[in-house]
């Protein structure tokens, strides 16, 4: 019987078709191919809803679609799909956000008379298709290929306004920085193939399952002279390189704020559902492999916690609305990494989901504001927009409350669970997790502060410029996506109200239930067993009510919001951050991250490259040239025996024959 899950490849192919349509005939279509894109992502969304319903009914699906390299006594390289609760949930998120971004683009691009619309919609289609292909990938190599495609599309879209100086440079930076991480990922993929002979995510022959069996002593794999645990940690960290690049974690986060040069709907797509989410999703997808490595988990948690705090502090001082959102994205993905490292698999997926909704909402809201402000992004030129664009204001407020983690909006539930899980496992006696938790907790305060600073500066107070007094109106195609996401940002948290479930005893932690079924080895219970057996998370049996940590983080978020209210919710706000003096300069310049990375490139890599060039030019080329020089010289001498005089040849022939006869004679013993 053909079920809905057999149509899974169509979810990926529909946006790809819209890419082809926009690319080939987009110029001649009305709206520059937007309608094809909307139709395709709408179709994907419908299919994804069907997929989610089928998965909710207990179905799962995995199939190999195409074997593109058949190995003889070696590995087959294949494309396949894997539909389980995790990927079904992600499909829904990606298609929903992509659909809404396409609709929003009608308002942001078409109504603003941008040129090159066909190119824009082709990019959006390919971007969506790549991310969907990545989500359904059933093996690591396929995931890597689509991971790279996502990176390529981000390059194309960030650099959309390629005639201005900023976007092409930002696009190059985004591509190069994420590529730097992807080198490690590629090495990791090869290491996985070399170690396990497979890169499959699912089944008893998948690489997480084999790694677990090897650690339990039930199977053996090639670990190249390392202890299995050490080697798996190394491989895991190599793959993590790609994750850190794509998910913009410290120290490879520098591309993301620059990526704001792209059109705002693209920023929404990149930050909410596609590129940046890819990294975290990859860790969640192969969580069975990370859960067996305590070191890798500790590193993930620490990097995540650090990034969450680090980015939040930088978000405090930015002037442009999109810059604030960019740093909030880095910070929020830090939380997801913190959750994954802290053993909160469900918490991380939960935060991934709620963040996708509220961050897409905030970016689209910012896009709406930018339309109204005639493409001026400076918050100090805004103010008082609340009464002029109420739909944008209230939806943006919903997203901001979710981002800050204020009860009962979506972000509260997910961020609270992230912190709770980390604290719970940190209290087992893991100081690194506790340190990561402390940084994450501190970041909650800063999140509340920068979020509401942004809200108050943009929407409250008196208009601070002519355009803010008389903003440009927006149409339904902007308001509709905002309304959908605004509702989701408010209510999405209700799918997993763990504290409430804990107190009342009601079975309302639906996301936990959702992730409990699926393929054996890819479920929450299995990950729980792994986390208990290998990094010994929860082994000490610490009991902790989720209420107190929840209250603490809510209190901190509210404190941040209240501080922002006191400082910025006044008719004529001033730049209070100026009082920070030198600290502000450091923050405003992003802790000089770009400068030190440029210094590494110029001060270390370039001299090293110069030495390597010298070695190449001197030694390697010297040997090659020397060999050819000797050949030329001897050839020049030896060729002179060809005199052109026949008699000389005859002499040589005769002498040669004589020598030959003598040699045979000596060897044959005639003269003995």
């Amino acid at each position: 019987m053909v079920g809905i899950l057999d149509f899974t490849p169509a979810i990926v192919l529909l946006p790809f078709v819209s890419f082809l349509v926009a690319l080939s005939v987009g110029d001649r279509l009305p709206k520059g191919g937007a309608l094809a894109g909307i139709a395709a992502t709408g179709g994907s969304l419908a299919l994804s809803i069907g997929t989610v319903l089928a998965v909710a009914g207990g179905e799962t699906y995995t199939a190999t679609i195409y074997t593109w390299a058949e190995g003889l006594d070696a590995v087959d390289l294949t494309f396949g799909v894997l539909i389980d609760p995790l990927s079904a949930m992600m499909l829904l998120i990606v298609t929903l956000v992509a659909f809404l971004v396409h609709v929003f683009s009608l308002g942001y691009m078409n109504d603003e008379d941008e040129t090159g619309l066909a190119r824009y919609y082709a990019g959006l289609g390919l971007f969506t298709a790549s991310m969907l292909g990545f989500v359904v990938a059933d093996n690591l190599l396929m995931a890597f290929m689509f991971f790279e495609l996502v990176g390529l599309c981000s390059y194309l879209l960030i650099g959309f306004h390629f005639r201005e100086p900023g976007p092409p440079s930002a696009a190059k930076k985004a591509f190069l920085v994420t590529r730097f991480g992807d080198y490690f990922f590629l090495v990791g993929v090869v290491a996985v193939f070399a170690t396990f002979g497979t890169a499959s995510f699912v089944g008893s022959e998948s690489f997480p399952a084999l790694a677990e069996a090897a650690l339990r002593g039930e199977a053996s794999v090639a670990t190249f002279g390392f202890a299995p645990g050490t080697w798996f940690t190394i491989v895991g960290l190599l793959i993590l390189g790609g994750v850190i690049g794509k998910s913009a974690q410290y120290p490879l986060h520098t591309w993301l704020p620059d990526a704001m040069e792209g059109p705002t709907p693209v920023s929404a797509l990149i930050h909410a559902a596609t590129m940046v989410a890819a990294g975290v999703y990859l860790v969640a997808r192969m969580y069975g492999f990370y859960a067996i490595s305590p070191t890798a988990l500790a590193i993930i948690a620490f990097v995540g916690g650090f990034t969450a705090l680090f980015a939040a502090t930088m978000g405090l001082v930015k002037r442009e609305i999109k810059q604030v959102l960019a740093y909030s994205t880095i910070s929020q993905y830090g939380y997801m990494m913190l959750a994954l490292g802290g053993g909160g698999y469900v918490a991380a997926t939960f935060h991934l989901m709620t963040h996708a909704f509220f961050k897409a909402l905030l970016f689209l809201g910012a896009g709406s504001v930018i339309i109204a402000m005639h493409h001026n992004e400076d918050m100090w030129d805004m103010g008082g927009l609340r009464s002029k664009m109420p739909v944008t204001y209230y939806t943006f407020l919903s997203g901001s409350l979710a981002l800050a983690g204020i009860f009962p909006f979506a972000g509260f539930w997910s961020k609270d669970e992230v912190l709770y899980e980390t604290l719970l496992h940190g209290l087992d006696g893991d100081p690194i997790l506790l340190a990561a938790y402390a940084m994450g907790l501190l970041a909650v305060f800063f999140t509340g502060l920068y979020t509401f600073r942004m809200v108050f500066l943009t929407f409250h107070g008196e208009p601070r410029s002519g355009t803010a007094k008389d903003p440009h109106g927006v149409r339904w195609n902007v308001k509709f996506p905002l309304a959908v996401l605004g509702v989701l940002a408010a209510v999405a948290g209700f799918v997993n109200m763990v504290p409430v479930a804990d107190v009342t005893g009601l079975e309302i932690d639906f996301l936990h239930k959702w992730l409990e079924h699926g393929f054996e080895g890819l479920t929450v219970e299995h990950y729980g067993t792994l986390l208990h057996d290998f990094p010994a998370y929860g082994a000490a049996g610490v009991e902790l009510s989720p209420l107190l940590p929840g209250a603490v983080s809510l209190g901190l978020a509210l404190a941040g919001a209240v501080v922002a209210h006191r400082l910025y919710n006044v008719p004529e706000p001033v730049e209070h951050t100026d009082r920070l003096g030198g600290i502000k300069t450091v923050l405003y310049n992003n802790y000089y991250q770009d400068e030190y990375q440029v210094w590494i490139a110029n001060g270390l890599t370039r001299p090293a490259a110069r030495v390597a060039n010298k070695f190449d030019g001197g030694v390697v080329d010297g040997v090659v040239n020397g060999v050819s020089g000797v050949s030329l010289f001897t050839g020049d001498r030896v060729r002179r025996i060809q005199t052109g005089v026949v008699s000389n040849y005859a002499v040589l022939l005769t002498l040669g024959l004589t020598a030959l006869i003598l040699a045979f004679g000596l060897a044959g013993g005639w003269f003995a």
Partner: protein, 100 residues
């Protein structure tokens, strides 16, 4: 019956005369004649061994070689003719254009 050593001596002598001619003469016609001498030295061997072993294959082979030699002379004369046209003489040491 004449013992085969005499045939071999004769053949060796003819061969050496031919070789001497090739190594010392400069006239292309004498060159060609010397080559013919060496060829015939080989022929003598063929016939002689054929006679000693009582097998006519060698003598048949000798006939073939003569036919071959005739063809070779035709080619050789042709080369000499061209040599004469291009270098105004038949001195083999003059034609040294095919060298390094």
């Amino acid at each position: 019956m004449v013992p085969p050593e005499y045939y071999l001596l004769l053949s060796a002598a003819v061969f050496c005369i031919g070789l001497f001619g090739i190594l010392t003469r400069r006239n292309a016609l004498l060159f060609l004649m010397s080559v013919e001498l060496m060829l015939n030295a080989a022929n003598i061997n063929l016939v002689a061994f054929s006679f000693v072993w009582g097998n006519v294959t060698g003598q048949t082979f000798g006939l073939f070689t003569m036919a071959l030699a005739a063809a070779e002379v035709a080619v050789g004369i042709g080369i000499i003719l061209v040599l004469y046209r291009n270098f105004d003489g038949v001195d083999v040491t003059d034609a040294t254009t095919m060298r390094w």
